[in-house]
Amino acid sequence: MNSPVNQMKEFAKQIRLATLKELNNLGFGHYGGSLSIVETLAVLYGGIMKYDAKNPQWQERDYFVLSKGHAGPALYSTLALKGFFPVEELLTLNQNGTRLPSHPDRLRTKGVDATTGSLGQGISIASGLALAHKLSALDNRVFCIVGDGELNEGQCWEAFQFIAHHNLNNLVIFVDNNKKQLDGTLDEVIKPFNFNDKFSAFGFDVQTIKGDDIAGIYNAVKTDRTDNQRPLVVILDSIKGQGVPYIENMVSNHHLRPSESAKAELEKIVAELEGR
């Protein structure tokens, strides 16, 4: 029962709960895309990455870049639960003067490795971190989550060319393929065709894993790729609003301002997750 995967499952539940409380308290925010990466964050911060919450600048740490910056609330929950800052502070999300702005800001929040929010740039920053460590022959790893809608941005594909050319296999990219962007489904807004084919053509190893398959995600990234394999892209077959059926079932769930009745529904889900 106490296997690493079971611990990560429990951690994912806590991240989901904390993220809902954080957003419910504010009354609005990026529910959909925060919830779809909860399991991945649970794996990275619950079993894969090296870090020291008491010393966020520890030289030997691994790095995490949330390129889809609007999922900041899920990252904050993860960091708070791991002790980077007090869990109570999650309730200051987006309040005046907060250290927890909607999109991650590395100068404001302990544990945030890169400021993101203008889409497409986080991958480039992650590749800079990975290149720096390769050049210095250090074994720090870098993990980056990019949104499927974010892949509309041409800069992402500039970055992928660079990453493959330099074989930055100390960097793992997760594509949060939750199939929706702000204005609709990817198919409606800008058809992605086949991510697997695209990344293979760009020179990556590709794995597609269910977005809530903690064991699958863990197995994909638990060993580093020191044997000169190609860089890895994990395509997360995820659901926008993942793990909260009430939100999963909404057509448009990127940014929500729940009504009074919706709030009651969300509180019920919080109570369920809390085991009340």
Partner: protein
């Protein structure tokens, strides 16, 4: 008398030589290029230091983000490309991946304004300085000659933050003696006169010096200031010479909007209002031509400056 004499070393050679020497001393330096390495004489440096000179290909937006990541990991990135691509092509990246999060990057932006000559209007940037001076923490410079370029590059190695350095790529006109020292944020007063102040940068420093000689033959004594730091601008020197001469002409190889003229005017209207004239490109785009042709076409010659001085009555 100001004698026009070209620098013996091209600006690109100044950069390449500097990089070659600096990488040997400082293993953190990473010189990034965007498929213009050969245009900047960096090929031989890359052969010697393949881990320190990285030709990223034609992806300027990515390169700025890459530099942000290198900076976070403690590297000291420099990035060279043409002014147009180092400003308008990647402004949001300069904002978010660098300046907003206090990352360190030195951008060397070459082929400034009309000096991109035969690359023509598409490559000719008259708006770049205006774009980058909108960044809250950036330091924005335009180097005047090879002596200044070398001295500024030496200073940049140890400075933290975003430094955006505009330069020409080939031979500049020599303005400074070999051992001249420069303080970023402090202008150089090259000549003093009590009738009018000419404030110039880049290739226009030479034109301002030539204009001052012509004016002297007409009994008009001009102060000439090299305002090589556009941001933060040297307020003290502007106020001092506004008071002393009562008239200012700004001279820039850039649109007159949002560049040197605007920056000087912002100080003048707040501190000591005096009449001003603006020598620069007047809301036009570039075209193919020799530098001398383009200077005439866009009103950037010493004669244009003399005329502007005469327009104060």
């Amino acid at each position: 008398m100001f004698i026009v004499k070209n620098d013996p070393i091209e600006m690109r050679k100044v950069y390449a030589n500097f990089m070659q020497e600096s990488i040997a001393k400082n293993q953190d330096i990473i010189a990034l290029e965007a498929d213009l390495m050969s245009s900047m004489s960096m090929d031989s440096v890359q052969k010697q230091y393949p881990n320190h000179v990285i030709n990223c290909g034609i992806m300027e937006a990515h390169i700025i983000g890459l530099a942000g990541g290198l900076s976070i990991a403690g590297k000291n990135p420099f990035f060279h490309t043409f002014t147009a691509f180092a400003s308008r092509r990647c402004f949001d990246q300069l904002f978010m991946s660098i300046d907003y999060q206090h990352n360190n990057l030195k951008v060397i932006a070459s082929d400034a304004g009309v000096t991109s000559a035969h690359n023509g209007g598409t490559h000719m940037s008259f708006e770049d300085m205006g774009i980058v001076r909108g960044l809250a923490h950036a330091t924005v410079l335009e180097v005047t000659d090879g002596v200044m370029f070398r001295n500024i590059l030496e200073q940049l190695v140890d400075l933290k933050g975003l430094y955006w350095v505009r330069t020409m790529r080939k031979n500049a006109v020599t303005i400074y003696k070999d051992n001249e020292q420069f303080t970023i944020g402090k202008a150089k007063v090259l000549r003093e006169g009590s009738d009018v102040t000419l404030i110039a940068n880049g290739i226009m420093v030479c034109e301002a010096m030539l204009a001052a000689d012509k004016l002297a033959t007409q009994g008009i004594e001009a102060t000439v200031i090299d305002m090589f730091t556009l941001k933060p601008i040297d307020r003290d020197v502007i106020v001092k010479y506004a008071k002393l001469t009562g008239k200012i002409v700004t001279c820039e190889n850039h649109n007159i909007h949002n560049g040197l003229g605007s920056a000087v005017a912002e100080v003048v209207v707040q501190e000591h209002p005096v009449p001003m004239r603006f020598i620069g490109v007047k809301d036009r785009y570039g075209q193919v031509g020799s530098v001398e042709f383009l200077k005439k076409e866009y009103g950037l010659t010493a004669d244009d400056i003399v005329q502007a001085v005469h327009s104060f009555t």
